[in-house]
């Protein structure tokens, strides 16, 4: 397996024809090519522009949205989007890094309505707000639940 490419310049140099990289040229702040998977990091304010750009570039199918809690380092949250192209048979991962207090990012439900339940799940289990989401309420936990279970400071066996 080839070594991972960890910076935007090296990834762009290694993959000059990649449709996602070309589409994201203006908004990408970082990129990674690891284990044959492309990750492009964008600024939190640019996520709608980035998803629209990859959608226009042919990445037509939104597959997944989730988050990673990088406790205790900052930026604390990484929101990850997986988008696949059914014509090019390629996948791109978009990542957004968010701070630990009051994390919020724009909702992409206007681009792909299928992100609706996924963003609700991330909101429920991580406490990340999705600005502009039509129905941002808890989906897995009861509506009156306190806390966000998938954060690392939430104990596995619950509060006693």
């Amino acid at each position: 397996m080839a070594d991972a490419l960890m910076s935007l310049d090296t990834v762009c140099a290694a993959l000059p024809d990649n449709a996602a990289l070309l589409a994201l040229r203006d908004v990408a702040v970082d990129a990674k090519w690891d284990r044959n998977e492309l990750t492009v990091t964008v600024a939190p304010g640019d996520i709608i522009a980035a998803t629209r750009a990859v959608q226009a570039a042919g990445y037509n199918f939104f597959e997944d949205c989730t988050a990673v809690y990088w406790y205790p380092s900052e930026p604390r949250f990484q929101v990850t989007y997986h988008i696949v192209s059914t014509t090019m048979k390629e996948r791109v991962r978009l990542a957004v890094l968010l701070p630990g207090d009051d994390p919020a990012v724009d909702s992409i439900t206007s681009v792909w309505p299928s992100s609706n339940f996924y963003e609700r799940e991330v909101f429920d289990l991580f406490g990340i707000r999705f600005v502009g989401h039509p129905n941002l309420v808890r989906i897995m936990m009861p509506l009156d639940w306190k806390g966000h279970p998938l954060r690392k400071d939430y104990p596995v066996e619950g509060y006693r």
């Binding site: 597959e63 997944d64 309505p113 299928s114 609706n116 339940f117 039509p134 129905n135 936990m141 596995v156």
Partner: protein
């Protein structure tokens, strides 16, 4: 009557549905609507799905699914376990296709570890995945027909499923929660005579599928309950994240086994059934055809079954042979280390997808280099497909909601996780 609260809204919440009914009640020009609570204990919601429906007579005006009754926090539990201990958790997500879950998780971790899986293990994995697909489709067909009112088919389907579960029990020791795949290969060699039993099953299975078709396809009640019901356009299917048979029934040609092959699927020849009708009938015919194709893939796997090891050559990751452990010091040390400390996985993140019987199943595994995963996330097909339920049912009859739920083949275990 159309919803007044938010006619353009996709996937409204429960409160939106209730508000909508209140507004209809205030409007003197329209009939009053009624809010109906369906589930979570309704027998045709396939588990613990709760639907809040606003109905005008028999017509669905708006609806919202309420999920989470089966949320067990598997993603959280996985973070507290060693990598190899997560495998039994994955069975419990989609309990009708345990092998696909096992495979997807193992492939993701193997990608992180850069492990080479021997040919024999890959072929057995493909074989078992296709048997799992047949098994899952049999449960779908039986319960779907039962929802519509054709009770007999259920008994026929479960007759063949019983044989499949016996085959699973013979390799894994468990009928449903198999946990047969391991990171790096398989847990053990299939028992003597097992391949002959599989061959016997594959010989009779096509005639049995034809038997189900004979029971259902020509039946006028079955046809009129399915044909033209629950239409989903290809644009909506892609927009709402629908995958698997419902997506292909809407005319989008996307099957990961052919388009993004994994575990050696590129070596098999098979057809991906497609329909452009987008209704419940199309989903029914596509799943039946898929069962025939699965039999063909399983037959090819059986025919080309190579000899060799069933685990990768990685003594620090795979538990040693029992005999070696008793005679060789290194094996004993490796066994002790793996069981007590697990094994470290190089830092990185991977997203591995497989085509499960319900659609695109993806495992997103993030490692920070330690022996426990930092994050395991499952992208489950039922979860996304459920979002399309409202589009398929709005403005249609209440009785068809049951047919549509059956046709998208949701498993609440994987929706709630």
């Amino acid at each position: 009557m159309s919803p007044v609260a938010a006619p353009e809204m996709v996937n409204p919440g429960i409160n939106d549905v209730i508000e909508d009914a209140k507004r209809h009640a205030k409007d003197p020009a329209s009939d009053q609507t009624m809010v109906l609570n369906m589930g979570p204990q309704h027998p045709s919601t396939h588990g613990v799905l709760r639907l809040v429906l606003e109905i005008d007579g028999e017509t669905v005006v708006s609806m919202a699914p309420d999920i989470g009754y089966l949320h067990t926090g598997i993603e959280k539990t996985a973070e507290a376990k060693f990598y190899q201990q997560v495998v039994p958790l994955t069975d419990r997500i989609d309990y009708l296709s345990p092998m696909c879950n096992n495979l997807c998780y193992c492939l993701a971790v193997e990608k992180l570890l850069a492990l080479e899986i021997p040919e024999r293990a890959q072929t057995i994995r493909v074989l078992l995945n296709e048997l799992t697909r047949i098994q899952s489709h049999l449960v779908w067909l039986g319960t779907h027909a039962m929802d519509i009112g054709a009770l007999t088919v259920f008994l026929y389907c479960f007759r063949e499923r019983e044989e499949l579960l016996r085959l699973f029990e013979a390799v894994a020791g468990q009928r449903m929660m198999t946990s047969y795949f391991r990171i790096g290969g398989l847990s053990m060699e299939p028992p003597a005579g097992w391949f002959d039993r599989v061959q016997k099953f594959l010989n009779i299975m096509p005639s049995k599928i034809a038997e189900y078709e004979g029971l259902l396809s020509g039946n006028p009640i079955w046809y009129s309950r399915l044909k033209g019901v629950g239409y989903l356009s290809p644009e909506d299917a892609v927009r709402l994240g629908v995958t698997g048979p419902p997506l292909r029934a809407s005319g989008v040609d996307w099957d990961l086994r052919r388009d993004m092959p994994y575990t050696g699927y590129e070596k098999y020849t098979f057809k991906v059934p497609i329909s452009h009708d987008g209704d419940v009938w199309a989903r029914y015919t596509i799943r039946l055809e898929e069962m025939y194709e699965s039999v063909k893939i399983a037959q090819q796997a059986l025919d080309r079954m190579p000899e060799g090891r069933i685990t990768a050559d990685a003594p620090k990751i795979i538990l040693p042979d029992r005999e070696e452990m008793k005679t060789q010091m290194e094996s004993l040390i490796h066994h002790f280390k793996i069981v007590t400390e697990g094994f470290g996985v190089p830092a990185g993140e991977v997203f591995q997808t497989v085509e499960s019987p319900r659609g695109v199943m993806g495992y997103y595994v993030v490692s920070d280099g330690t022996n426990k995963p930092l994050r395991v996330h499952m992208r489950n097909p039922s979860y996304a497909t459920l979002q399309a339920l409202e589009t398929m049912c709005k403005g249609k009859l209440l009785g068809d909601v049951v047919a549509v739920i059956g046709s998208i083949d949701i498993v609440l275990g994987e929706i709630d996780r």
